[in-house]
Amino acid sequence: MARRSDEVAWSDPALLILGSLASGPKHGYAIVQEVQASTGVTLGPGTLYGALPRLEQRGLVRPLPGEDRRRPYELTAEGARILRARLEAMQSFAARGLATLAPVTP
């Protein structure tokens, strides 16, 4: 399960996986480490492999030839497009939220 101690979560596993693969192909454990380091969210194995097959099915990520039992995945062009659109929407949301929040901050 994707876990973070925040009371208001934003951690959609699919988004976290796509975001992790933005910096290049990674296998499962590398994705877990990258997500933990960049967001503080711990993706459990069950959660990661609940989202990964669905991303592959929708053509947003693709598997690469495996190294022993570990198989790396990379973003597809469609996956990169979806990720960019989502991050831009979040950026816009964050900018607007921060601008609105500023006056009420003590």
Partner: protein
């Protein structure tokens, strides 16, 4: 890896384990073991059964294959409902077993016969189109998953004869030998049902028949799932209408087979519908 995590990994659907099993297992080995991870794996396994994702070079073939194996397993779990309810209500007939109950049981029996006809036709198609070519190519290993069911079938047939001989001379009170043989036979029957339900699925996964070979069996699987659903409905209706002393005496086993029948019917119907939809999308 903890035994609980290993058990949770084994709970994923075969189609999932075939595609992602090794890499998921590697990840579980890499992360620090915790009960949260194990709970996440259990949730993941449940989600993979309820909303399976089929990927790879031919997802339609994998979807149809999964539908076939699921419907077959569901039929093996649910078909016993008909003879079990028939025995519970008619051996001997209770006070409330009227013409309506008998008619419902007749329909249940007819659906049972029709279900077996459909199931065996579908099985014969898979044998002719996939198993026979594999055996001609000397791929004997595809028979391995079927061996437990074949051995148990012979053992159970012999056990039935022994049971008939052991009970024949004791009309009023069964001997200890007859009770022991009878109990062993029932345990063996359950093992036969489980191995018959799971073995052919493992063989089909090894055979990997193409979509053309799976087309008609997938349609037949949909018909079989409807047959199982109708059989469960009529048998359950007979139980509700009868509600007599015979049924009250066997409430727990009757409730158990009805629940198994309902779960098997729902599983088979959902899975076969997904198989047919995948087939239609491909066409």
């Amino acid at each position: 890896m903890t035994p609980a995590a290993r058990w949770a990994l084994a709970a994923y659907p075969p189609s999932f384990r075939e595609r992602y099993g090794e890499e998921l297992e590697a990840l579980v080995d890499d992360v620090t073991p915790s009960w949260r991870h194990t709970a996440g794996l259990v949730r993941g396994a449940a989600a993979a059964w309820l909303r399976p994702a089929f990927t790879g070079p031919d997802p339609t073939q994998r979807r149809m294959q999964a539908s076939l194996t699921t419907v077959w397993a569901a039929w093996c779990a649910g078909f016993m409902l008909a003879p079990a309810i028939d025995k519970a209500l008619l051996d001997p007939p209770g006070a409330h077993v009227d013409a309506t109950v008998r008619r419902l049981l007749d329909v249940t029996t007819a659906l049972w016969v029709a279900g077996w006809a459909i199931a065996l036709t579908g099985a014969a198609l898979v044998v002719a189109r996939a198993l026979v070519p594999a055996l001609r190519a000397r791929r004997w290993s595809v028979l391995r998953p079927l061996l437990p069911a074949l051995v148990l079938l012979v053992v159970e047939a012999v056990g039935l004869v022994v049971l008939a001989l052991a009970t024949r001379s004791h009309d009023s009170r069964p001997s200890t030998t007859a009770v022991v043989v009878g109990t062993a036979w029932i345990v063996g029957l359950l093992a036969l049902l489980v191995s018959s339900g799971l073995g052919p699925g493992a063989t089909i996964r090894q055979l990997r028949p193409d979509v053309t070979a799976l087309r008609l069996p997938t349609v037949l699987a949909a018909a079989l799932s409807l047959c199982l659903a109708a059989l469960t409905a009529t048998a359950s209706a007979a139980v509700v209408v009868a509600r007599d002393a015979t049924l009250a005496g066997a409430l727990a086993p009757v409730a158990a087979v009805v629940i198994v029948g309902v779960v098997a019917s729902v599983t088979a119907t959902v899975s076969s519908a997904r198989g047919v939809l995948a087939l239609r999308a491909r066409a």
